[in-house]
Symmetry: C2
Subunit: 141 residues, 2 copies
């Protein structure tokens, strides 16, 4: 299973999806400082999208201070955390709201409370365990 996936059907722009995925990989330790990302052409090819779209995602993360890109050399992770952008209270509301949406989705799909809790526990373990990953995956596409 490729680590990075995008959905062409989603209303969310592909480059936004990519940015989110990479942020998650970096935050979870799947991508560490010094890690090289695949060239824009390669990743674009793997995902079946245009190289501009990948380039845009890389650039946004570069602007955010997480990546560093240079012609001929490639793109590499230079930080694992970024300075928060919004006010904490707003940030918290936003998070709570996406979380609520995800949980509601589960209920809409017919999951009961226990099933949902099981899913949550699994994901919590995976995400917070990522701080000290057991295996060092290729971590890209």
């Amino acid at each position: 299973m490729r680590v990075i996936t995008v959905s062409l059907a989603s209303p969310v722009p592909i480059h936004d999806q990519l940015v989110a995925e990479l942020r998650r990989l970096i935050a979870s330790g799947g991508l560490r400082i010094g890690h090289e990302l695949p060239p824009v052409r390669q990743l674009a090819n793997d995902l079946g999208i245009n190289l501009n779209t990948v380039a845009r995602a890389y650039r946004e993360l570069t602007d955010a201070g997480l990546l560093a890109s240079a012609r001929g050399r490639g793109t590499v992770v230079i930080a694992t955390v970024e300075r928060p952008r919004g006010r904490p209270a707003e940030e918290r509301r936003r998070i709570e709201s996406t979380l609520a949406a995800a949980l509601s989705d589960a209920k809409i799909a017919g999951l009961d409370l226990d099933e949902t809790r099981t899913l949550i526990d699994r994901q919590l373990a995976r995400i917070w365990a990522g701080d000290r990953p057991h295996r060092q995956p290729d971590a890209t596409a």
Copy 2:
């Protein structure tokens, strides 16, 4: 606080947000069978968006079998569950993935495991408690 909110800044189209919100309200019992939704013009006005956008959301939910609309009469809830659209396994993957995204977001924002658990518990209680709501809210905007 209005029950229905949309974010004009979000990359997700407004009508998609509306559909999701209404689905959640219906699934959580905030909107029951027979409940009338506000007229498209009113809701559009309350939210500061165009009436077409609201109409589109209503129509999508009508097509999904959750609402019934008629000129002059308004729009009412006619069902609280819709038939699942995809195969269960795919559906589950999708849910797990949005959930993972939401949780990763929390981590990226700097929340620790305990804080995240607190947020989750609160939302779980809210959403699943909705089956038997204490107060019968206006439930719209």
